[in-house]
Protein backbone atom coordinates (compact mmCIF):
# COMPACT_ATOMS: atom_id res chain seq x y z
CA UNK A 1 0.00 0.00 0.00
CA UNK A 2 1.50 3.27 -1.09
CA UNK A 3 -0.55 5.62 1.02
CA UNK A 4 -0.05 3.84 4.31
CA UNK A 5 1.19 6.36 6.88
CA UNK A 6 4.65 6.16 8.43
CA UNK A 7 4.32 4.37 11.77
CA UNK A 8 6.50 4.69 14.83
CA UNK A 9 7.24 0.99 15.13
CA UNK A 10 6.22 -2.59 14.64
CA UNK A 11 2.90 -3.41 16.30
CA UNK A 12 4.23 -6.89 17.07
CA UNK A 13 6.99 -5.41 19.22
CA UNK A 14 5.16 -2.30 20.39
CA UNK A 15 1.56 -3.51 20.60
CA UNK A 16 0.35 -0.26 22.21
CA UNK A 17 2.00 2.36 20.03
CA UNK A 18 3.66 0.59 17.10
CA UNK A 19 0.77 1.49 14.78
CA UNK A 20 0.86 5.18 15.77
CA UNK A 21 1.50 7.63 12.98
CA UNK A 22 4.84 9.36 13.10
CA UNK A 23 3.13 12.75 12.82
CA UNK A 24 1.19 12.08 16.03
CA UNK A 25 -2.28 12.38 14.47
CA UNK A 26 -4.88 9.79 15.42
CA UNK A 27 -5.34 6.62 13.41
CA UNK A 28 -8.65 6.30 11.63
CA UNK A 29 -10.34 2.96 11.12
CA UNK A 30 -8.68 2.14 7.78
CA UNK A 31 -5.25 2.93 9.25
CA UNK A 32 -5.90 0.77 12.24
CA UNK A 33 -7.17 -2.13 10.17
CA UNK A 34 -4.12 -1.88 7.92
CA UNK A 35 -1.98 -2.33 11.04
CA UNK A 36 -3.87 -5.45 12.11
CA UNK A 37 -6.61 -3.61 13.98
CA UNK A 38 -9.73 -5.53 15.04
CA UNK A 39 -8.07 -8.83 14.07
CA UNK A 40 -8.06 -9.77 17.75
CA UNK A 41 -11.77 -9.13 18.12
CA UNK A 42 -12.48 -11.03 14.93
CA UNK A 43 -10.41 -14.00 16.12
CA UNK A 44 -11.93 -13.98 19.60
CA UNK A 45 -15.50 -13.98 18.28
CA UNK A 46 -14.66 -16.73 15.82
CA UNK A 47 -12.40 -19.03 17.86
CA UNK A 48 -12.62 -18.21 21.55
CA UNK A 49 -15.22 -18.62 24.26
CA UNK A 50 -15.54 -15.61 26.59
CA UNK A 51 -13.65 -17.49 29.31
CA UNK A 52 -10.76 -18.09 26.90
CA UNK A 53 -10.24 -14.35 26.55
CA UNK A 54 -10.12 -13.94 30.33
CA UNK A 55 -7.70 -16.85 30.52
CA UNK A 56 -5.45 -15.32 27.88
CA UNK A 57 -5.35 -12.04 29.81
CA UNK A 58 -4.52 -13.97 33.00
CA UNK A 59 -1.82 -16.02 31.28
CA UNK A 60 -0.30 -12.87 29.85
CA UNK A 61 0.16 -11.59 33.40
CA UNK A 62 -1.44 -8.23 32.61
CA UNK A 63 -1.65 -6.04 35.71
CA UNK A 64 -3.79 -2.92 35.96
CA UNK A 65 -2.11 0.13 34.49
CA UNK A 66 -4.07 2.65 36.52
CA UNK A 67 -1.61 2.36 39.35
CA UNK A 68 -2.81 -0.35 41.70
CA UNK A 69 -1.49 -3.21 39.58
CA UNK A 70 -4.28 -5.67 40.27
CA UNK A 71 -4.22 -8.67 37.92
CA UNK A 72 -6.68 -7.80 35.14
CA UNK A 73 -7.62 -11.38 34.25
CA UNK A 74 -8.27 -12.16 37.90
CA UNK A 75 -10.52 -9.11 38.17
CA UNK A 76 -12.54 -10.33 35.18
CA UNK A 77 -12.75 -13.86 36.57
CA UNK A 78 -14.82 -12.70 39.54
CA UNK A 79 -17.73 -11.66 37.31
CA UNK A 80 -20.57 -14.18 37.44
CA UNK A 81 -20.84 -16.08 34.15
CA UNK A 82 -23.14 -18.68 32.69
CA UNK A 83 -26.88 -19.06 32.43
CA UNK A 84 -27.56 -18.07 36.03
CA UNK A 85 -25.52 -14.86 35.80
CA UNK A 86 -27.34 -11.52 35.86
CA UNK A 87 -28.27 -10.57 32.29
CA UNK A 88 -26.96 -7.02 32.57
CA UNK A 89 -23.26 -6.42 33.21
CA UNK A 90 -20.97 -3.50 32.46
CA UNK A 91 -17.40 -2.70 31.54
CA UNK A 92 -16.29 0.78 32.51
CA UNK A 93 -13.12 2.31 31.14
CA UNK A 94 -11.40 4.65 33.54
CA UNK A 95 -10.17 7.56 31.45
CA UNK A 96 -10.32 10.13 34.21
CA UNK A 97 -6.53 10.55 34.36
CA UNK A 98 -6.40 13.20 37.06
CA UNK A 99 -3.49 11.62 38.91
CA UNK A 100 -0.93 14.42 39.06
CA UNK A 101 2.02 13.57 36.86
CA UNK A 102 0.21 11.04 34.67
CA UNK A 103 -0.23 11.70 30.98
CA UNK A 104 -0.29 8.29 29.31
CA UNK A 105 -4.01 7.66 28.73
CA UNK A 106 -4.40 10.89 26.78
CA UNK A 107 -1.37 9.88 24.69
CA UNK A 108 -2.90 6.47 23.92
CA UNK A 109 -6.35 7.76 23.03
CA UNK A 110 -5.00 10.58 20.89
CA UNK A 111 -2.71 8.20 19.05
CA UNK A 112 -5.16 5.38 18.44
CA UNK A 113 -8.71 5.59 19.80
CA UNK A 114 -9.67 2.34 18.04
CA UNK A 115 -7.20 0.35 20.15
CA UNK A 116 -9.18 1.27 23.25
CA UNK A 117 -12.48 0.43 21.55
CA UNK A 118 -11.19 -2.98 20.49
CA UNK A 119 -9.89 -3.58 24.02
CA UNK A 120 -13.28 -2.59 25.45
CA UNK A 121 -15.05 -4.90 23.01
CA UNK A 122 -12.82 -7.82 24.04
CA UNK A 123 -13.35 -7.09 27.73
CA UNK A 124 -17.13 -6.89 27.25
CA UNK A 125 -17.10 -10.17 25.32
CA UNK A 126 -14.99 -11.82 28.05
CA UNK A 127 -17.35 -10.95 30.90
CA UNK A 128 -20.58 -11.10 28.90
CA UNK A 129 -21.38 -7.39 29.00
CA UNK A 130 -23.35 -5.76 26.23
CA UNK A 131 -22.82 -2.19 27.43
CA UNK A 132 -19.60 -0.36 28.08
CA UNK A 133 -18.85 3.16 29.26
CA UNK A 134 -15.74 5.17 28.58
CA UNK A 135 -15.42 7.74 31.35
CA UNK A 136 -13.22 10.67 30.34
CA UNK A 137 -12.32 13.74 32.31
CA UNK A 138 -13.74 17.15 31.63
CA UNK A 139 -10.73 18.74 29.92
CA UNK A 140 -10.31 15.88 27.42
CA UNK A 141 -12.20 17.49 24.57
CA UNK A 142 -9.78 16.21 21.95
CA UNK A 143 -9.70 12.59 23.19
CA UNK A 144 -13.47 12.77 23.52
CA UNK A 145 -13.96 13.95 19.96
CA UNK A 146 -11.57 11.32 18.62
CA UNK A 147 -13.34 8.57 20.55
CA UNK A 148 -16.75 9.76 19.38
CA UNK A 149 -15.60 9.62 15.77
CA UNK A 150 -13.95 6.23 16.25
CA UNK A 151 -17.08 4.79 17.87
CA UNK A 152 -19.09 5.90 14.88
CA UNK A 153 -16.62 4.33 12.46
CA UNK A 154 -16.62 1.10 14.47
CA UNK A 155 -20.41 1.04 14.43
CA UNK A 156 -20.59 1.46 10.68
CA UNK A 157 -17.99 -1.28 10.19
CA UNK A 158 -19.92 -3.70 12.39
CA UNK A 159 -17.46 -3.86 15.28
CA UNK A 160 -20.15 -2.44 17.56
CA UNK A 161 -23.91 -2.65 17.66
CA UNK A 162 -26.24 -5.60 17.20
CA UNK A 163 -24.50 -8.88 16.32
CA UNK A 164 -20.90 -7.74 16.22
CA UNK A 165 -19.30 -9.15 13.04
CA UNK A 166 -22.32 -11.38 12.58
CA UNK A 167 -21.88 -13.11 15.96
CA UNK A 168 -24.37 -13.49 18.80
CA UNK A 169 -22.47 -10.83 20.72
CA UNK A 170 -23.97 -7.31 20.74
CA UNK A 171 -22.31 -4.26 22.19
CA UNK A 172 -22.94 -0.56 22.74
CA UNK A 173 -20.21 1.71 24.09
CA UNK A 174 -21.17 5.09 25.53
CA UNK A 175 -18.97 8.06 26.25
CA UNK A 176 -19.40 9.81 29.56
CA UNK A 177 -17.68 13.10 30.32
CA UNK A 178 -16.90 13.85 33.95
CA UNK A 179 -18.04 17.02 35.68
CA UNK A 180 -14.72 16.91 37.48
CA UNK A 181 -13.07 15.86 40.73
CA UNK A 182 -10.13 13.56 41.44
CA UNK A 183 -12.38 11.16 43.37
CA UNK A 184 -14.11 10.26 40.09
CA UNK A 185 -10.96 8.31 39.22
CA UNK A 186 -11.37 5.99 42.22
CA UNK A 187 -13.11 2.92 40.83
CA UNK A 188 -16.18 2.91 43.06
CA UNK A 189 -16.32 6.72 43.04
CA UNK A 190 -16.35 6.52 39.25
CA UNK A 191 -19.42 4.27 39.31
CA UNK A 192 -21.20 6.80 41.51
CA UNK A 193 -20.13 9.59 39.17
CA UNK A 194 -21.44 7.64 36.18
CA UNK A 195 -24.76 7.26 37.94
CA UNK A 196 -24.67 11.07 38.44
CA UNK A 197 -24.31 10.57 42.19
CA UNK A 198 -21.66 12.16 44.38
CA UNK A 199 -18.36 10.46 43.68
CA UNK A 200 -17.75 9.18 47.20
CA UNK A 201 -16.05 5.80 47.35
CA UNK A 202 -18.13 2.74 48.17
CA UNK A 203 -17.47 0.28 50.91
CA UNK A 204 -16.61 -3.23 49.71
CA UNK A 205 -18.16 -5.79 49.90
CA UNK A 206 -20.19 -5.97 47.84
CA UNK A 207 -17.41 -6.04 45.30
CA UNK A 208 -18.03 -4.33 42.03
CA UNK A 209 -17.69 -7.59 40.12
CA UNK A 210 -20.99 -8.63 41.71
CA UNK A 211 -22.70 -5.30 42.42
CA UNK A 212 -21.17 -2.30 40.67
CA UNK A 213 -22.74 0.19 38.29
CA UNK A 214 -26.47 0.42 39.05
CA UNK A 215 -25.83 -2.64 41.25
CA UNK A 216 -24.93 -4.80 38.26
CA UNK A 217 -21.73 -6.84 37.90
CA UNK A 218 -19.10 -4.39 36.67
CA UNK A 219 -15.47 -4.43 35.65
CA UNK A 220 -13.51 -1.18 35.72
CA UNK A 221 -10.22 -0.99 33.87
CA UNK A 222 -7.81 1.78 33.09
CA UNK A 223 -7.46 2.97 29.47
CA UNK A 224 -4.00 1.45 29.11
CA UNK A 225 -5.03 -1.90 30.63
CA UNK A 226 -7.78 -2.22 28.03
CA UNK A 227 -5.43 -1.08 25.25
CA UNK A 228 -3.14 -4.02 26.15
CA UNK A 229 -5.86 -6.60 25.52
CA UNK A 230 -5.94 -6.60 21.68
CA UNK A 231 -2.18 -7.21 21.62
CA UNK A 232 -2.50 -10.08 24.08
CA UNK A 233 -5.20 -11.77 22.02
CA UNK A 234 -3.51 -11.08 18.66
CA UNK A 235 0.00 -12.16 19.66
CA UNK A 236 -1.05 -14.79 22.17
CA UNK A 237 -0.30 -14.52 25.89
CA UNK A 238 3.13 -16.18 25.74
CA UNK A 239 4.45 -13.95 23.00
CA UNK A 240 3.01 -10.83 24.60
CA UNK A 241 4.46 -11.73 27.98
CA UNK A 242 7.88 -12.36 26.42
CA UNK A 243 7.98 -8.70 25.31
CA UNK A 244 8.75 -7.75 28.90
CA UNK A 245 12.13 -7.92 30.57
CA UNK A 246 10.84 -9.47 33.79
CA UNK A 247 8.37 -12.17 34.65
CA UNK A 248 5.49 -9.67 34.72
CA UNK A 249 5.89 -9.29 31.01
CA UNK A 250 4.39 -7.17 28.26
CA UNK A 251 4.93 -3.50 27.51
CA UNK A 252 3.65 -0.34 29.09
CA UNK A 253 3.68 3.40 28.58
CA UNK A 254 6.26 5.20 30.64
CA UNK A 255 6.70 8.93 30.78
CA UNK A 256 9.25 11.44 31.91
CA UNK A 257 8.44 14.99 33.00
CA UNK A 258 10.46 17.63 34.83
CA UNK A 259 13.82 19.08 33.75
CA UNK A 260 14.90 16.35 31.37
CA UNK A 261 16.22 17.23 27.93
CA UNK A 262 13.34 15.46 26.20
CA UNK A 263 10.13 14.93 28.12
CA UNK A 264 7.42 12.64 26.81
CA UNK A 265 5.78 9.24 26.96
CA UNK A 266 7.03 6.09 25.25
CA UNK A 267 6.23 2.39 25.18
CA UNK A 268 8.82 0.31 27.02
CA UNK A 269 9.14 -3.37 27.85
CA UNK A 270 7.86 -3.91 31.39
CA UNK A 271 10.87 -4.07 33.68
CA UNK A 272 12.91 -1.36 31.95
CA UNK A 273 14.76 0.52 34.71
CA UNK A 274 14.18 4.23 35.30
CA UNK A 275 17.79 4.97 34.40
CA UNK A 276 17.24 3.81 30.83
CA UNK A 277 14.14 5.98 30.48
CA UNK A 278 15.75 9.04 32.00
CA UNK A 279 19.26 8.82 30.60
CA UNK A 280 18.29 7.07 27.38
CA UNK A 281 14.95 8.23 26.00
CA UNK A 282 14.75 11.49 27.90
CA UNK A 283 18.38 12.36 27.17
CA UNK A 284 19.32 13.01 30.80
CA UNK A 285 18.95 16.23 32.72
CA UNK A 286 19.08 19.67 31.16
CA UNK A 287 22.39 21.47 31.58
CA UNK A 288 22.82 22.99 35.00
CA UNK A 289 20.41 20.70 36.80
CA UNK A 290 21.15 17.64 38.90
CA UNK A 291 18.64 14.89 39.53
CA UNK A 292 17.94 14.33 43.22
CA UNK A 293 14.87 12.09 43.27
CA UNK A 294 12.11 10.69 41.09
CA UNK A 295 8.40 10.47 41.73
CA UNK A 296 8.00 7.35 39.60
CA UNK A 297 4.29 7.02 38.92
CA UNK A 298 2.09 9.89 39.98
CA UNK A 299 1.43 11.77 43.19
CA UNK A 300 0.52 8.57 45.02
CA UNK A 301 3.93 6.90 44.79
CA UNK A 302 6.93 7.13 47.15
CA UNK A 303 9.97 9.15 46.05
CA UNK A 304 12.98 7.24 44.78
CA UNK A 305 16.42 8.74 45.51
CA UNK A 306 18.50 9.48 42.40
CA UNK A 307 20.98 6.78 43.37
CA UNK A 308 18.44 4.00 43.09
CA UNK A 309 17.40 4.07 39.43
CA UNK A 310 18.35 0.55 38.37
CA UNK A 311 15.37 -1.32 39.77
CA UNK A 312 13.35 -3.06 37.04
CA UNK A 313 10.12 -1.07 36.67
CA UNK A 314 7.46 -3.63 37.38
CA UNK A 315 5.03 -3.89 40.25
CA UNK A 316 6.82 -6.62 42.20
CA UNK A 317 10.37 -5.31 41.90
CA UNK A 318 9.31 -1.80 42.83
CA UNK A 319 7.30 -3.04 45.78
CA UNK A 320 10.11 -5.27 47.00
CA UNK A 321 12.44 -2.27 46.91
CA UNK A 322 9.98 -0.33 49.06
CA UNK A 323 8.69 1.93 46.29
CA UNK A 324 5.68 1.84 43.99
CA UNK A 325 5.19 1.82 40.25
CA UNK A 326 1.87 3.66 40.05
CA UNK A 327 1.20 4.93 36.55
CA UNK A 328 4.89 4.76 35.52
CA UNK A 329 4.96 8.39 34.45
CA UNK A 330 7.99 9.72 36.27
CA UNK A 331 8.49 13.25 37.55
CA UNK A 332 12.13 14.22 37.93
CA UNK A 333 12.92 16.26 41.03
CA UNK A 334 16.03 18.33 40.39
CA UNK A 335 18.23 20.42 42.67
CA UNK A 336 16.36 23.65 41.99
CA UNK A 337 13.20 22.24 43.56
CA UNK A 338 12.49 22.66 47.26
CA UNK A 339 11.54 19.18 48.51
CA UNK A 340 9.49 20.65 51.36
CA UNK A 341 7.60 22.83 48.90
CA UNK A 342 7.00 19.84 46.65
CA UNK A 343 5.58 17.85 49.58
CA UNK A 344 3.38 20.81 50.44
CA UNK A 345 2.12 20.96 46.86
CA UNK A 346 1.29 17.24 46.89
CA UNK A 347 -0.41 17.38 50.29
CA UNK A 348 -2.49 20.40 49.28
CA UNK A 349 -3.67 18.49 46.26
CA UNK A 350 -4.82 15.55 48.37
CA UNK A 351 -6.35 17.77 51.06
CA UNK A 352 -8.32 19.61 48.39
CA UNK A 353 -9.50 16.44 46.69
CA UNK A 354 -10.60 14.58 49.83
CA UNK A 355 -14.28 13.78 49.46
CA UNK A 356 -14.87 14.39 53.16
CA UNK A 357 -16.01 10.87 53.95
CA UNK A 358 -13.34 9.50 56.32
CA UNK A 359 -11.91 11.42 59.27
CA UNK A 360 -8.23 10.56 58.81
CA UNK A 361 -8.52 12.00 55.31
CA UNK A 362 -10.63 15.13 55.69
CA UNK A 363 -9.19 16.04 59.06
CA UNK A 364 -5.69 14.57 58.76
CA UNK A 365 -4.71 15.99 55.39
CA UNK A 366 -5.39 19.67 56.18
CA UNK A 367 -3.47 19.21 59.43
CA UNK A 368 -0.51 17.77 57.56
CA UNK A 369 -0.75 20.67 55.10
CA UNK A 370 -0.67 23.08 58.04
CA UNK A 371 2.43 21.50 59.57
CA UNK A 372 4.36 21.28 56.29
CA UNK A 373 3.29 24.82 55.42
CA UNK A 374 4.67 26.01 58.78
CA UNK A 375 7.97 24.29 58.03
CA UNK A 376 8.10 25.72 54.51
CA UNK A 377 7.36 29.23 55.75
CA UNK A 378 9.89 29.15 58.54
CA UNK A 379 7.64 28.50 61.52
CA UNK A 380 8.58 24.84 61.86
CA UNK A 381 9.72 23.30 65.12
CA UNK A 382 11.88 20.20 65.54
CA UNK A 383 9.00 18.21 67.04
CA UNK A 384 7.02 18.73 63.82
CA UNK A 385 8.91 15.94 62.10
CA UNK A 386 7.76 13.34 64.61
CA UNK A 387 4.30 14.85 64.48
CA UNK A 388 4.20 14.34 60.70
CA UNK A 389 5.29 10.74 61.12
CA UNK A 390 2.44 10.26 63.58
CA UNK A 391 -0.05 11.87 61.22
CA UNK A 392 1.06 9.54 58.46
CA UNK A 393 0.24 6.61 60.66
CA UNK A 394 -3.17 8.15 61.30
CA UNK A 395 -3.79 8.43 57.53
CA UNK A 396 -2.26 5.07 56.65
CA UNK A 397 -3.57 1.92 55.05
CA UNK A 398 -6.93 0.58 56.17
CA UNK A 399 -7.89 3.72 58.03
CA UNK A 400 -10.17 4.95 55.25
CA UNK A 401 -12.67 3.71 52.67
CA UNK A 402 -10.33 4.45 49.78
CA UNK A 403 -6.64 4.99 49.11
CA UNK A 404 -6.62 8.77 48.86
CA UNK A 405 -5.19 9.54 52.30
CA UNK A 406 -2.81 6.57 52.39
CA UNK A 407 -1.56 7.64 48.95
CA UNK A 408 -0.93 11.13 50.24
CA UNK A 409 1.53 9.81 52.80
CA UNK A 410 3.73 8.00 50.29
CA UNK A 411 5.82 10.85 48.89
CA UNK A 412 5.94 12.67 52.21
CA UNK A 413 7.02 9.55 54.05
CA UNK A 414 9.95 8.98 51.75
CA UNK A 415 10.78 12.70 51.59
CA UNK A 416 11.17 12.73 55.37
CA UNK A 417 13.93 10.16 54.92
CA UNK A 418 15.56 11.20 51.64
CA UNK A 419 15.36 14.91 52.35
CA UNK A 420 15.54 14.82 56.15
CA UNK A 421 18.34 17.39 56.09
CA UNK A 422 16.19 19.78 54.05
CA UNK A 423 13.31 19.60 56.50
CA UNK A 424 15.74 20.10 59.38
CA UNK A 425 17.46 23.06 57.77
CA UNK A 426 14.10 24.71 57.04
CA UNK A 427 13.34 24.39 60.74
CA UNK A 428 16.80 25.42 61.99
CA UNK A 429 17.08 28.41 59.63
CA UNK A 430 13.47 29.47 60.01
CA UNK A 431 13.10 29.89 56.26
CA UNK A 432 13.14 28.14 52.91
CA UNK A 433 16.55 28.64 51.34
CA UNK A 434 15.10 28.01 47.86
CA UNK A 435 12.65 30.85 48.26
CA UNK A 436 15.37 33.03 49.70
CA UNK A 437 17.47 32.29 46.60
CA UNK A 438 14.48 33.04 44.42
CA UNK A 439 14.75 29.88 42.37
CA UNK A 440 12.08 29.56 39.73
CA UNK A 441 10.26 26.91 41.63
CA UNK A 442 10.65 28.09 45.17
CA UNK A 443 9.91 31.70 44.22
CA UNK A 444 6.58 33.34 43.85
CA UNK A 445 4.48 35.24 46.29
CA UNK A 446 3.47 32.30 48.43
CA UNK A 447 1.83 28.96 48.11
CA UNK A 448 -1.05 28.91 45.71
CA UNK A 449 -4.43 28.54 47.23
CA UNK A 450 -5.65 25.10 46.41
CA UNK A 451 -9.00 25.41 44.79
CA UNK A 452 -11.62 25.04 47.38
CA UNK A 453 -9.37 23.87 50.18
CA UNK A 454 -9.91 27.06 52.07
CA UNK A 455 -7.48 29.77 52.88
CA UNK A 456 -4.06 28.93 54.22
CA UNK A 457 -1.74 31.14 56.13
CA UNK A 458 0.44 31.63 53.09
CA UNK A 459 -2.24 32.74 50.67
CA UNK A 460 -1.61 35.79 48.62
CA UNK A 461 -3.43 38.77 50.09
CA UNK A 462 -4.46 39.77 46.59
CA UNK A 463 -6.61 36.68 46.43
CA UNK A 464 -10.30 37.47 45.98
CA UNK A 465 -12.71 35.80 48.36
CA UNK A 466 -13.91 32.49 47.08
CA UNK A 467 -13.51 30.96 43.65
CA UNK A 468 -16.89 30.44 42.04
CA UNK A 469 -16.45 26.91 40.83
CA UNK A 470 -14.51 24.67 43.10
CA UNK A 471 -16.13 22.37 45.57
CA UNK A 472 -16.19 23.16 49.22
CA UNK A 473 -14.81 20.28 51.20
CA UNK A 474 -15.02 20.55 54.96
CA UNK A 475 -13.06 23.56 56.10
CA UNK A 476 -9.64 22.66 57.42
CA UNK A 477 -9.29 23.28 61.12
CA UNK A 478 -7.69 26.63 61.80
CA UNK A 479 -4.49 26.10 63.65
CA UNK A 480 -2.37 28.91 64.92
CA UNK A 481 0.79 26.87 65.29
CA UNK A 482 1.61 23.25 65.78
CA UNK A 483 -1.04 20.61 66.08
CA UNK A 484 -2.08 20.18 69.66
CA UNK A 485 -3.43 17.16 71.29
CA UNK A 486 -3.89 14.72 68.44
CA UNK A 487 -2.07 11.64 69.59
CA UNK A 488 -3.53 8.48 68.15
CA UNK A 489 -2.09 5.40 69.72
CA UNK A 490 0.52 3.88 67.52
CA UNK A 491 -0.92 0.66 66.25
CA UNK A 492 2.21 -0.91 64.89
Amino acid sequence: MTDEPARIGDPDELPLTGAFRVDGSALDLADYEAAGGYQALRAALRDMAPGDVTEAVSDAGLRGRGGAGYATGRKWSFVPMGDDAPPVKYVVCNGDEMEPGSFKDRYLIQGNPHLLIEGMALACYAIGASTGYIFVRDQYDVPHALLARALEEAHVAGYLGEHVLGSRFSLEINLHVSIGRYMCGEASGMLNALQSDRANPRWRPPHMASAGLWSRPTVINNVESLCCVPGIVRLGPERWRALGLTDEGGTRICGVSGRARHTGAWEFPVGTPLREMIEGRAGGMRDGYTLRAVLPGGASTPLIPAGDLDIPMDFDHMKKAGYGLGTATALLVDDSVCPVGLCLNLLRFFAQESCGWCTPCWAGLPWAVGVVNDIEEGRGRPEHLDLLAEQMWFMGEEMCFCDLAPSATKALGTALTIFRDEFESHIADGRCSYRARGSATGAGAAGAAPNGAGPHEGDSPAQPPAPPTPPTPPAPPRRPGGLPGLAPERGR
Binding site: I179, G258, T469
Partner: protein, 154 residues
Protein backbone atom coordinates in the same frame (compact mmCIF):
# COMPACT_ATOMS: atom_id res chain seq x y z
CA UNK B 1 -36.79 27.34 31.48
CA UNK B 2 -34.56 25.01 29.54
CA UNK B 3 -34.33 26.05 25.90
CA UNK B 4 -35.46 23.71 23.14
CA UNK B 5 -31.84 23.08 22.20
CA UNK B 6 -30.85 22.24 25.77
CA UNK B 7 -33.85 20.00 26.18
CA UNK B 8 -33.24 18.07 23.00
CA UNK B 9 -29.53 17.71 23.72
CA UNK B 10 -30.31 16.29 27.16
CA UNK B 11 -32.93 13.99 25.66
CA UNK B 12 -30.36 12.67 23.21
CA UNK B 13 -28.27 11.39 26.14
CA UNK B 14 -31.09 9.65 28.01
CA UNK B 15 -30.71 6.36 26.15
CA UNK B 16 -27.13 6.05 27.44
CA UNK B 17 -28.41 5.38 30.93
CA UNK B 18 -30.98 2.98 32.38
CA UNK B 19 -32.33 5.69 34.68
CA UNK B 20 -33.38 9.19 33.72
CA UNK B 21 -31.73 10.79 36.75
CA UNK B 22 -28.33 9.43 35.74
CA UNK B 23 -28.29 11.93 32.87
CA UNK B 24 -28.07 14.76 35.42
CA UNK B 25 -24.31 15.25 35.28
CA UNK B 26 -24.38 15.47 31.52
CA UNK B 27 -27.37 17.79 31.64
CA UNK B 28 -25.45 20.23 33.82
CA UNK B 29 -22.61 20.18 31.30
CA UNK B 30 -25.02 20.85 28.46
CA UNK B 31 -26.61 23.82 30.20
CA UNK B 32 -23.20 25.17 31.13
CA UNK B 33 -22.03 24.89 27.55
CA UNK B 34 -24.95 27.03 26.43
CA UNK B 35 -24.98 29.57 29.24
CA UNK B 36 -21.46 29.52 30.65
CA UNK B 37 -22.68 28.56 34.11
CA UNK B 38 -25.50 26.82 35.98
CA UNK B 39 -27.80 29.15 37.90
CA UNK B 40 -30.17 28.15 40.70
CA UNK B 41 -33.05 28.42 38.23
CA UNK B 42 -31.29 26.27 35.67
CA UNK B 43 -30.55 23.69 38.35
CA UNK B 44 -34.24 23.61 39.32
CA UNK B 45 -35.23 23.21 35.66
CA UNK B 46 -32.82 20.32 35.17
CA UNK B 47 -34.07 18.72 38.38
CA UNK B 48 -37.69 19.00 37.26
CA UNK B 49 -36.88 17.66 33.81
CA UNK B 50 -34.98 14.61 35.10
CA UNK B 51 -36.86 13.94 38.31
CA UNK B 52 -34.05 14.81 40.68
CA UNK B 53 -34.51 17.05 43.70
CA UNK B 54 -32.70 20.37 43.52
CA UNK B 55 -30.78 19.72 46.73
CA UNK B 56 -29.58 16.39 45.42
CA UNK B 57 -28.52 18.00 42.17
CA UNK B 58 -26.75 20.82 43.98
CA UNK B 59 -24.86 18.33 46.10
CA UNK B 60 -23.55 16.73 42.90
CA UNK B 61 -22.83 20.09 41.31
CA UNK B 62 -20.86 21.42 44.26
CA UNK B 63 -18.94 18.17 44.65
CA UNK B 64 -17.67 18.53 41.10
CA UNK B 65 -15.10 21.14 40.22
CA UNK B 66 -16.26 21.85 36.69
CA UNK B 67 -19.85 22.90 37.28
CA UNK B 68 -19.81 26.68 37.59
CA UNK B 69 -22.47 27.78 40.03
CA UNK B 70 -21.61 31.45 39.55
CA UNK B 71 -21.23 33.41 36.33
CA UNK B 72 -17.82 33.25 34.69
CA UNK B 73 -16.08 35.35 32.08
CA UNK B 74 -16.27 34.77 28.33
CA UNK B 75 -13.11 32.68 28.60
CA UNK B 76 -12.08 30.46 31.50
CA UNK B 77 -8.36 30.02 32.19
CA UNK B 78 -7.51 26.88 34.12
CA UNK B 79 -3.91 26.84 35.28
CA UNK B 80 -2.49 23.55 36.47
CA UNK B 81 -1.16 23.73 40.03
CA UNK B 82 -0.09 20.08 40.44
CA UNK B 83 3.35 18.66 41.11
CA UNK B 84 4.96 18.67 37.63
CA UNK B 85 3.86 22.22 37.01
CA UNK B 86 5.10 23.15 40.49
CA UNK B 87 8.49 21.70 39.65
CA UNK B 88 8.52 23.59 36.35
CA UNK B 89 7.67 26.91 37.98
CA UNK B 90 3.92 27.39 37.53
CA UNK B 91 3.85 29.84 40.45
CA UNK B 92 5.61 32.45 38.34
CA UNK B 93 3.08 31.89 35.52
CA UNK B 94 0.18 32.14 37.95
CA UNK B 95 1.51 35.41 39.33
CA UNK B 96 2.16 36.73 35.84
CA UNK B 97 -1.39 35.99 34.70
CA UNK B 98 -2.83 37.43 37.90
CA UNK B 99 -0.82 40.63 37.47
CA UNK B 100 -1.75 40.93 33.81
CA UNK B 101 -5.44 40.36 34.40
CA UNK B 102 -5.55 42.29 37.65
CA UNK B 103 -7.42 39.44 39.33
CA UNK B 104 -6.18 36.47 41.34
CA UNK B 105 -7.31 32.86 41.25
CA UNK B 106 -11.06 32.69 41.49
CA UNK B 107 -11.49 36.13 39.99
CA UNK B 108 -13.18 37.43 36.86
CA UNK B 109 -11.87 40.49 35.08
CA UNK B 110 -14.18 43.52 35.37
CA UNK B 111 -14.73 43.48 31.59
CA UNK B 112 -15.99 39.90 31.82
CA UNK B 113 -13.30 38.65 29.48
CA UNK B 114 -11.52 36.11 31.67
CA UNK B 115 -12.15 33.99 34.75
CA UNK B 116 -8.95 32.65 36.29
CA UNK B 117 -9.03 29.31 38.12
CA UNK B 118 -6.63 26.62 39.30
CA UNK B 119 -7.02 23.04 38.10
CA UNK B 120 -5.67 19.62 38.99
CA UNK B 121 -3.02 18.12 36.69
CA UNK B 122 -4.07 18.49 33.05
CA UNK B 123 -1.98 15.52 31.89
CA UNK B 124 0.27 17.88 29.92
CA UNK B 125 3.18 17.09 32.25
CA UNK B 126 5.64 16.74 29.38
CA UNK B 127 4.80 20.35 28.51
CA UNK B 128 4.64 21.84 31.99
CA UNK B 129 3.81 24.45 33.06
CA UNK B 130 0.47 24.17 31.34
CA UNK B 131 -2.99 25.72 31.23
CA UNK B 132 -6.27 25.35 29.40
CA UNK B 133 -8.26 28.27 28.06
CA UNK B 134 -11.80 27.18 27.25
CA UNK B 135 -10.97 23.94 25.42
CA UNK B 136 -7.48 24.84 24.17
CA UNK B 137 -4.36 23.40 25.81
CA UNK B 138 -1.31 25.62 26.14
CA UNK B 139 1.94 24.14 27.39
CA UNK B 140 5.59 25.10 27.91
CA UNK B 141 4.40 28.41 29.29
CA UNK B 142 6.65 31.40 29.76
CA UNK B 143 5.49 34.91 30.66
CA UNK B 144 6.12 36.00 27.06
CA UNK B 145 4.13 33.10 25.65
CA UNK B 146 1.29 33.80 28.05
CA UNK B 147 1.10 37.41 26.88
CA UNK B 148 0.91 36.26 23.30
CA UNK B 149 -1.70 33.55 24.06
CA UNK B 150 -4.03 35.81 26.03
CA UNK B 151 -4.15 38.22 23.08
CA UNK B 152 -5.94 35.56 21.06
CA UNK B 153 -9.00 35.58 23.30
CA UNK B 154 -11.36 38.56 23.30
Amino acid sequence: MLTDDERSEIEATLHHYPHRHSAAAGAMRIVQRHRGWVSDEALADIGAFLGVSVDELDSRATFANMVFRRPVGRHVILICDSDCCYVMGYEEMRDHIAARLGVGLGGTTPDGRFTFLPIVCLAQCDHAPAMVIDTDFHGDLTPERIDEILERYD
